[in-house]
């Protein structure tokens, strides 16, 4: 029996956002004109990009199994970045400036800017830079980073509905992209994009972080909200058609199932395997829901996801002459 596919054509398409500029080897994401992974009926110029998270200080709360691959470089962002790119093959990095949080070291904006500068020196992939969480401190930290690293096309994480004006202004001033974060709510995501556009931010420089739950902790909410964002985007809503970034590692490794050691729950099996499975399952779900960038913590997860994407998208990403990562894929007859 043969299946007769009737390709669905949509009125809209995703915006294409290029991360990284200046000394970075840029990575473009988004641009697809169909539902995620519907390669049989739509064109996807870029496959989802895989990021690893590195931190400015030792992330003491990370569980042992996710600390282990980073041994020796935790809290040394430049070294961690080198390992993430050279050894683990990350397409881009998220630099989490957790140490700038007032309760976790209260590192200064200058220190933060120096940390990001060191990472920029060490590797040439694009960076998402995440502050300590919305508020005055985050604004001063990211404003400083944005100014000192002007022209590098960072993605600043993140602007929120309540607090977006500072980051919008510095993104515009220093040529960076901006991640808009909304609390699992399609209307808030849209409202934020309207506000950003109103602040003269180019929406072709914006990623949506819809805030994800990990597997078992609200993942299905994230899924349906992302689905709605994507449906609206494809329906032609120009305020919702920015690519989506999901901070997967952070959520997946929060789950009790990923953290509890095997001697406490013998039936659950190896903690390491369990944690990686948890992160893989969360990431795959979100990629299916439409994540264009997933941020992971365990390199093994990245490896497994990369293999899966290869099997769908055909080949490893290759770099063209300009240095733009051509992780392009178009529906071919073979796949129809």
């Amino acid at each position: 029996m043969s299946l007769d596919l009737k390709p669905k054509k949509w009125a809209g398409a995703l915006r294409e956002v290029t991360l990284g500029a200046g000394s970075r080897r840029p990575v473009a994401v988004g641009g697809g004109n169909g539902l995620p992974l519907h390669t049989f009926e739509a064109a996807f110029p870029h496959r989802p990009a895989l990021a690893l998270e590195i931190t400015d200080v030792d992330p003491v709360r990370w569980v042992e199994s996710v600390r282990q691959p980073w041994e020796g470089v935790l809290g040394r962002p430049a070294e961690a970045a080198r390992r993430a790119v050279a050894d683990f093959g990350a397409d881009l990095l998220l630099v989490h400036l957790m140490g700038t949080h007032t309760d976790r070291g209260n590192r200064s904006p200058e220190q933060a800017a120096a940390d990001v500068g060191a990472v920029l020196e060490a590797v040439n992939v694009p960076l998402i830079v995440k502050g300590p969480g919305a508020g005055q401190k985050q604004n001063t930290v990211l404003a400083r980073v944005a100014e000192d690293c002007r022209g590098e096309g960072l993605a600043l994480h993140s602007a929120t509905n309540e607090d977006y004006k500072t980051l919008a202004a510095v993104a515009v001033a220093y040529g960076h992209a901006l991640v808009g974060e909304s609390p699992i709510d399609v209307n808030m995501a849209k409202q934020l994009n309207i506000l950003l556009a109103d602040s003269n931010v180019d929406l072709n420089r914006v990623l949506i972080d819809p805030l994800t739950g990990g597997l078992g902790y609200g993942l299905e909410y994230s899924y349906s909200v992302m689905e709605r964002i994507r449906l609206a985007a494809l329906g032609g809503d120009a305020m919702l058609n920015c690519p989506i970034v999901c901070l997967v590692g952070e959520e997946a490794w929060k789950a009790k199932e990923a953290k509890v050691p095997a001697d406490k729950e013998p039936l659950w099996g190896s903690q390491r395997e369990r944690g990686i499975h948890w992160e893989v399952a969360t990431a795959m779900t979100l990629i299916e829901a439409g994540a264009e960038v997933v941020v992971l913590r365990h390199p093994e997860t990245l490896d497994r996801i990369r293999k899966q994407l290869d099997s769908w998208f055909g080949s490893e990403p290759s770099h063209d002459r300009e240095g733009v990562v051509q992780n392009s894929f178009r529906a071919t007859d073979e796949h129809r």
């Binding site: 500072t166 202004a169 609390p183 209307n187 909200v225």
Partner: protein, 729 residues
């Protein structure tokens, strides 16, 4: 536009341009055309000229074109006979003046006149712009005041500077009045002037004020991503300033032609002028958001008046009260033994009343306690209290009074150690000993209301004053006014019918968990959570036009009985992501509205009775339909249309439009005692209006039965009208 101002501005413009031309000609005589000119450490050349002409002036020769442009914008100098000044002409002259002034400032060094000397700081570098300009754009600094001239004496100068600083406003100073300058006055008072204190003296000439406007333009270039270019780009830059940079000019002392011309230049940016002298006013709105020129303002009123005229919104980060506060303390009780002072409850009269007033009748920030304060009475005293809040705002409407008043409860619940229950004249308020010991006084209730109202409702509230009456005389005197207001609000709300409005409001706040759900809120049907009525929707839209509440035009009637309109149906199709085609406002059977999950009550049909029941969320027991509230909620919620089941806000039951297409309130055969209690007399009254004698008594509740069979028997015994109305489906 006042003839005097327009003529003066045009004359001033001509004079400025002539001066620039002379200085330029002299400079060209002595220097090469390629001589570099410009302000130190900036990538924006001469920013005003860049913004207004789109040209980068970097060499002496480039100035010719810029000054030429300024000349070409100047309207003819008005004479006694020739009279055509109009707003446009004066504005053009203003723009020409700014260009000429910037040229003059840039030429000064070539003439050996320093830009930076004594305490004068001269033009601002890009480094400072990046650090400080962003604060103007992201709202940390509400705006800037360009102070032109000087005050009558040093002390007044310091007072004005302090008042502006207190409001977090950046203060630019420039120009002189017969040789006297505000900066010199501050200097004599030993006031620090620099970018750290936000007191920035530019220069003693009127032309130096152009640096303040240049600063605004550079903020627009840098943080607004605006590009210089042609007319369209210039317009964008001016609009950006008008919308985002909350600046104003304070004209201090005599206003000469050049100052009028500079003021006209500032008005191009939407920056109004507030003067302490008796110059002609320009009130009607046009370029500026509100008034353009306001005069004769006393020095101590200047900051407040300026903030008001420019529409600057000041947000208080830390409310100045001696106890912690926040939503975390909202549910907190103050027990009898902890009470320092108590108002209302069953002991004394205690009410709150919020009224809107014209702008000039509210003194923003004024808090008065009329009667004893907390320290004047013995511990545990019970006093009467009237909380009288007067607000004013450009966009305030009397309709919003009740909405703001309803927030008093949550605002006054937030300070730690304050307990607030009830609303209107049923208020019960306690202040704990701990709070008192920390320094909390009755007056601070006003402080909280002042800041919360301004912070949370910036779109509609500009000014707040609070009076707290704590003795009988004052309380009793105000009470009749308050009581009359409560009543007339209720009457107005009662008279507000679906037919009388053209617009309903949508609410999509619950889409986060019921993705296709949307509430349509009409005057006679509130949101199903019970928290949003039509007025709330209206106010919410006024406050945030990008928020979850949008106005929806009813459009042509599709079915007046069901309550369907074309405009609403079109909206629903879109807002439900194509999941639903039609909504009936008045039916739970045909195209009922969807239910998200936060309904206060569920109404559902009871087969075999011809009626319906209404059950509330708190009710944990069984119901005649054979399900508890929670199992019913599963069927009803999730944003589906489930004919026969709807989520409702409790007081929808009192509406004349309550399932009016299906037979209305007469269908109600069973409900809970809690609902009966909550609706109380109002339900009795509605029942009487139905004209079915003894109807209220015929509505069963859980004390009569919780199963269907006995209910049917009971209904037969009491001859409930629903039995004759026939089955609903």
């Amino acid at each position: 536009m006042s003839r005097i101002i327009a003529s003066a501005a045009i004359r001033g413009g001509h004079a400025c341009v002539r001066r620039a031309e002379t200085m330029l000609a002299e400079a060209l005589g002595r220097h090469n055309r390629n001589t570099a000119i410009g302000f130190p450490s900036t990538a924006y050349a001469l920013p005003i000229i860049l913004a207004l002409t789109g040209k980068r002036v970097e060499k002496l020769g480039d100035l010719e074109e810029a000054v030429g442009a300024a000349r070409s914008w100047l309207p003819a100098e008005p004479t006694e006979k020739l009279w055509l000044p109009y707003l446009g002409g004066a504005l053009d002259a203003g723009a020409a003046t700014l260009v000429a002034q910037e040229a003059i400032e840039a030429l000064k060094p070539l003439h050996g006149i320093p830009l930076e000397f004594d305490y004068w700081l001269g033009p601002t570098t890009d480094g400072i712009l990046r650090e400080q300009g962003i604060k103007l754009v992201d709202g940390r600094m509400p705006g800037f005041a360009a102070c032109v001239g000087a005050l009558p004496d040093d002390e007044t100068a310091e007072q004005l500077a302090r008042d502006l600083q207190e409001r977090n406003l950046l203060v630019f100073m420039g120009a002189n009045c017969a040789g006297e300058t505000m900066a010199a006055q501050l200097n004599r008072r030993g006031v620090q002037m620099n970018w750290e204190t936000f007191l920035v003296p530019y220069g003693p000439d009127t032309s130096s004020i152009v640096h303040a406007l240049g600063f605004a333009c550079r903020a627009a270039f840098t943080f607004g991503g605006l590009k210089p270019g042609g007319l369209e780009e210039t317009r964008e830059i001016l609009l950006y300033n008008q919308r985002r940079v909350f600046a104003f000019v304070l004209a201090l002392g005599e206003v000469d032609d050049e100052k009028y011309a500079t003021a006209a230049g500032a008005i191009n940016f939407g920056f109004p002028v507030i003067a302490d002298t008796d110059i002609p006013e320009i009130l009607p709105s046009g370029i500026c958001t509100y008034e353009h020129v306001v005069s004769n303002v006393a020095h101590r009123d200047m900051p407040a008046r300026a903030v008001e005229v420019r529409g600057v919104k000041i947000h208080t980060v830390e409310i100045p009260i001696p106890v912690r506060h926040g939503p975390a303390f909202e549910g907190e009780r103050v027990r009898r033994e902890e009470v320092a002072i108590e108002f209302g409850g069953k002991y004394t009269r205690c009410f709150e009343y919020l009224a809107s007033r014209p702008m000039d009748q509210v003194q923003d920030g004024l808090i008065r306690v009329v009667g004893p304060e907390i320290g004047d009475v013995p511990e545990g005293a019970r006093l009467p209290l009237a909380i009288f809040v007067e607000v004013a705002g450009r966009k305030m409407q009397p309709e919003f009074e009740s909405i703001l008043e309803r927030h008093i409860h949550s605002f006054l619940s937030e300070p730690m150690g304050v307990m607030h229950l009830g609303q209107r004249d049923t208020v019960w308020l306690r202040i704990s000993k701990k709070a008192r010991d920390a320094g909390f006084r009755i007056e601070h209730l006003g402080t909280v209301l002042l800041h919360k109202l301004r912070n949370d409702f910036p779109a509609i509230v500009d000014k707040v004053q609070v009076t707290l009456f704590t003795e009988s005389a004052g309380v009793e005197e105000l009470y009749p006014t308050a009581a009359a207001a409560y009543q007339s609000r209720d009457e107005r709300m009662g008279a507000l019918t679906d037919e009388r409005v053209e617009i309903f409001y949508s609410c999509a706040l619950c889409q986060s968990y019921a993705p296709n759900h949307v509430c349509i809120i009409t005057p006679e049907r509130l949101g199903l959570c019970g928290a949003y009525n039509w007025l709330d929707g209206k106010a919410a839209y006024e406050i945030n036009p990008h928020g979850g509440n949008l106005p929806v035009r009813k459009g042509d009637s599709v079915d007046p009985v069901l309550g369907q309109w074309k405009g609403i149906n079109d909206f629903i199709r879109n807002a439900s992501n194509g999941a639903f085609e039609r909504f009936s406002a008045y039916s739970m059977i045909t195209d009922p509205m969807t239910s998200c999950g936060c309904f206060e009550c569920i109404a559902c049909i009871l087969p075999g009775t011809g009626g319906i029941m209404i059950v509330d969320r708190e009710y944990a027991g069984e119901t005649p339909v054979g399900m508890t509230f929670s199992s019913l909620a599963e069927m009803t919620g999730g944003g589906q249309q489930t004919p026969g089941f709807i989520g409702i806000g409790t007081i929808y039951a009192l509406s004349r439009k309550f399932i009016s297409a299906d037979g209305g309130l007469a269908r109600l055969v069973w409900t809970t005692t809690r609902i009966k209690q909550k609706l109380g007399d109002r339900l009795r009254q509605r029942c009487e209006e139905l004209g079915k004698p003894g109807f209220y008594e015929k509505i069963a509740d859980e004390t009569v039965c919780t199963e269907l069979e006995p209910l049917i028997e009971y209904l037969a015994t009491v001859e409930h009208p629903a039995l004759e109305m026939g089955e609903m489906v």
